[in-house]
């Protein structure tokens, strides 16, 4: 009994016991607190009551209408008010548009010319009896896409989005011509997702072009494109794309719900949407796939996923996504299966190297020298003689240098960017070793790591992995291989807790369906992949009709 008491009273024993309890409890409490903070932030965002703006109807007189619009937009010099007379009725009318934003040629040819030309065979009787606006739409103006509005706010919104609006004296309606000047570029191959084999087309900035691209890839009547607006002030168009008889309704509902919570002034890029609707803002892994490729979006929605397109950006979002999908490219399916399986395996190896190679080097060199083969150990020791820094600091310096070079090469104009790469290679490869700042083996380690980090097909994932690499280096510098093991365990725990729109992030690494494993590390031949991935619970699971 005495010995037990003496044991408990020893300082390291009770201190150790205390720490064993204190550390997990404190971590638990702190994380709960963080989650609460996050929840509060979410709650404050969601139920924002929309202020009903004062609406004013179009008056039947021309002057008050124009006066109202001028009072709202009058100080802008790019807004043009063009007054002219309707030839058929000799009434005054005003065309309001934004200069440079409308298709002037079409406006002249199809709006102003027909309205100003002398009536030749117009049935005066009919004009008198019917509504003037309806008559103009039906008989005079040869434009396909047009409609009418009775609210002045509507008309102002349309003017601002590039549609000329015609006010006619004596009518309590205005006509909106959809004659926006389409500023667009030709379809190019996406820069960020180049393929050797595959369609050479990427999304454009214009939403309408993008939806048209998707339509052109599929004649399926179930392909559904639902549009809505986001951005309180800027009002961007956003399209949710899915295939109605494949997509799981719960997933679709969740996507719509999350998009409804977006309360932003301005949504310049789909990255804004991604960051607001993603599951875990603290995670280093991207939980939503972004792509420039229409074929990729088409493949995604055919698996039962949902795509989100935003006007003004070529980057579409696909939800949900799993980690294994981040390592796939459309080419995996376009090329033959054996070679692409090998390349896929290579990608898995590459991301492992990206995250762990420098930390393994640090651990082996400064903790577990006995695990290195003798010849290599001597070579490393020889190369490290005279290097003034411990291996961890050395690795940090080199990693920072490589990342800076990468960033510099990215931001600079292309011709200069190449020079940066060259200078960097010479300075780091030669001078740093010559000066004895770093060891040649470290250069190899860092170079291999850098190359393998560019293998990841998803740019966002690549950035996340670089951060993980630094964390792994810290862990290995403090606790060696044991630290790396702990770090990997933490990563696994995080990965298995993380979900993207209800789908566990590391599926199909976890068991869900053996069919999904056909498209995991290896890509099985196409004829074996008869079902859609079960992980998304699609309504219609069969790829082949029979």
């Amino acid at each position: 009994m005495d010995s037990v008491l003496a044991f408990i009273l020893r300082q390291e024993v009770y201190f150790g016991t205390f720490m064993l309890i204190a550390i997990p409890v404190t971590l638990n409490i702190s994380f709960k607190k963080l989650i609460e903070l996050r929840k509060q932030a979410n709650n404050s965002r969601s139920p924002l009551t929309k202020k009903k703006a004062k609406t004013q109807d179009v008056s039947s007189l021309l002057e008050p209408n124009i006066a109202f619009i001028k009072s709202r937009l009058g100080i802008n010099t790019d807004i043009v008010f063009r007054n002219f007379n309707l030839a058929i009725l000799n009434r005054k009318c005003t065309l309001v548009y934004i200069d440079g934003f409308v298709n002037k040629l079409a406006m002249r040819q199809f709006v102003v010319e027909p309205l100003m030309s002398k009536p030749c065979n117009h049935d005066q009787q009919m004009i008198k009896t019917s509504d003037v606006i309806a008559y103009l739409i039906d008989n005079v103006i040869p434009i396909i896409d047009m409609n009418t509005a009775t609210s002045l706010d509507d008309s102002i919104y349309n003017i601002l989005s590039g549609c000329p609006v015609l006010f006619v004296d004596g009518e309590a309606k205005c006509i909106i011509f959809k004659l926006k000047k389409e500023e667009t570029r030709s379809i190019d191959e996406p820069v960020t997702e180049a393929l050797v084999r595959g369609p050479r087309m990427g999304f454009l900035e214009n939403l309408r072009d993008n939806t048209a691209l998707l339509r052109s890839l599929s004649g399926d009547p179930n392909l559904t494109i639902v549009e809505q607006e986001v951005g309180e002030r800027t009002k961007r168009k956003l399209a949710i794309v899915y295939i109605s008889d494949i997509v799981n309704p719960d997933l679709l509902g969740e996507v719509k719900e999350r998009i409804a919570t977006i309360q932003l002034d301005n949504v310049p890029e789909s990255g804004y949407i991604e960051q607001i609707i993603e599951d875990d803002y603290l995670s280093l892994f991207p939980q939503i796939q972004s792509t420039e490729r229409p074929d990729r979006v088409m493949g995604g929605i055919l698996e039962g996923r949902v795509a989100i397109l935003l006007d003004g950006t070529p980057f579409a979002l696909i939800v949900p996504v799993t980690f294994s999908m981040m390592l796939q490219t459309p080419e995996d399916y376009y090329e033959r299966w054996i070679s692409m399986s090998l390349i896929r395996l290579l990608r898995y190896a590459a991301i492992f190297i990206t995250v762990f190679l420098p930390s393994f080097y640090i651990a082996l060199v400064s903790f577990h020298q006995g695990l290195i083969p003798t010849d290599l150990a001597l070579a490393i020791a020889n190369s490290r003689v005279g290097v003034p820094f411990p291996s961890f600091i050395e690795a940090l310096i080199m990693e920072a240098a490589i990342e800076m070079l990468r960033e510099a090469g990215l931001r600079l104009p292309k011709p200069i960017g190449q020079t940066v790469g060259l200078v960097g290679a010479i300075i780091i490869g030669e001078a740093a070793v010559q000066a004895g700042l770093v060891s040649p083996i470290m250069i190899i380690v860092v170079a291999v790591t850098a190359i393998s980090s560019f293998v990841t097909p998803q740019y966002g994932l690549g950035i996340g992995l670089r951060v993980l690499r630094i964390l792994a280096m810290f862990c290995s510098a403090t606790l060696g291989l044991y630290g790396i093991t702990l770090f990997f365990l933490m990563l696994l725990i995080h990965g298995s807790k993380l979900k993207s729109f209800g789908v566990p992030y590391i599926t199909p690494g976890t068991i869900y369906s053996k069919d999904d494993l056909k498209d995991f590390v290896f890509r099985f031949p196409l004829f074996t992949m008869n079902t859609r991935p079960k992980e998304f619970y699609p309504k219609n699971n069969k790829r082949k009709p029979k």
Binding site: G370, A377, N382
Partner: protein
């Protein structure tokens, strides 16, 4: 205020975790890697210890004509005392994970028990049990000093011993773990001997016989004896044997597959061993003319010649072991133990005496399966 405290607690816990690491963090160039160790008998004190340390030269200033290794020599009464003595001579702590070979002077092995000499290494929780152990009839210091600019002697010895499968004149090398096992079970065993041959080069030659009970060196075997041992044990899967035809011409038989079966029988108190040696192999060289290997009769004659030769080796070796050294290093005792476990318990203490008086019968069967790419000479 509350939030600030909260963060302080979190930060201090984080640092507590981090600061408890790093305790054995030491970069590789700040260690003294030891590749070889030598134990010599010393005149003044008990032991002279030699460590072989590769020279660490900065890769940018290589080729300065420095030797690629250095030997540190120290004397003392106990091994660990000597090792710690190194702290006063060497800039960095000694690190034995990469230890390749341990070389023990025969004089030392005759005078002290092996389990005493190697006690420190067995107890040490850092040392590995993979280094190979050799005896030497010279001094360990000399062996580790054989200068060759391109190779460190310890590494050289280590790589020679890798050739054990291609010749009958080498016995399989003894690692620290094998040695430890044999010492624990008081089994007698052989330790390969390293020596300095012609042209001042290192050579594995012969072996020392360690008596399991005394744990000391009691004698040695030459290359001929080792061939006998290898044939009897039947563990090699390679190696050659030289024979002479009746005409006096020489021929070489190369073993491809060798096995031996030892069957003990106990009759009253006398032990008899029937050893059946079977070998498949090729004629790899033949100076006989015409020497037609397509002739079955010729092949049979050839096989008989090899059988005779093997028998000669085996019998000479057993004669030496039974009558001169009186020590069982072939592992016959093990076979006996498996067959007569109860009797073994009674006699295992004096097994060597039983071995010395036992009868050993050999039955050798040699097959020539292949005569190589050329059969006869014309």
């Amino acid at each position: 205020m509350k939030r600030k405290q909260f963060y302080i607690v979190v930060m201090s816990l984080f640092f507590l975790c981090v600061l408890s690491g790093c305790w054995d963090n030491k970069d590789i160039e700040e260690l003294t890697l030891v590749l070889g160790m030598g134990f010599d008998s010393s005149d003044q004190q008990k032991i002279k210890l030699i460590y072989q340390i590769p020279t660490i030269i900065s890769s940018t200033e290589s080729g300065s004509g420095q030797s690629i290794y250095q030997n540190y020599i120290s004397e003392g009464e106990a091994v660990h005392e000597i090792i710690r003595d190194g702290a006063t001579k060497l800039p960095n702590p000694i690190y034995t994970h990469h230890l390749k070979v341990i070389i023990i002077d025969q004089e030392l092995a005759e005078n002290y028990k092996l389990s005493f000499i190697l006690d420190q290494i067995f107890r040490d929780n850092v040392s590995r049990l993979s280094p190979k152990i050799f005896l030497t009839d010279k001094k360990a210091e000399e062996i580790l000093n054989v200068s060759d600019d391109s190779e460190i002697p310890s590494v050289y010895i280590d790589s020679i011993s890798d050739n054990e499968q291609s010749t009958m004149k080498l016995i399989s090398s003894m690692s620290l773990i094998d040695l430890s096992a044999d010492l624990m079970s008081s089994q007698s065993f052989l330790m390969p001997n390293v020596t300095i041959g012609e042209n001042n080069s290192l050579q594995l030659k012969g072996a020392g016989v360690i008596n399991g009970k005394e744990q000391k060196l009691i004698g040695s075997l030459n290359e001929q004896d080792l061939q006998g041992i290898n044939w009897i044990k039947g563990e090699k899967q390679g190696g050659t044997i030289k024979i002479h035809h009746k005409s006096g011409q020489v021929a070489i038989y190369e073993v491809k597959h060798l096995s031996s079966k030892i069957a003990p029988t106990l009759h009253k108190d006398t032990v008899t061993f029937d050893v059946k040696i079977t070998a498949d192999g090729w004629i790899s060289e033949d100076w006989e003319f015409p020497g037609d290997a397509f002739d079955e009769k010729y092949i049979e004659e050839f096989e008989d010649l090899v059988e005779e030769e093997v028998l000669k080796y085996a019998e000479e070796t057993t004669d030496k072991l039974q009558h001169e050294l009186k020590t069982d290093v072939i592992g016959l005792g093990n076979q006996f133990r498996m067959k007569y476990p109860k009797k073994w318990e009674k006699i295992k203490k004096d097994w060597n005496a039983y071995f010395a008086t036992s009868t050993i019968n050999y039955d050798v069967e040699i097959n020539v399966t292949n005569m190589g790419s050329a059969g006869s000479k014309k």
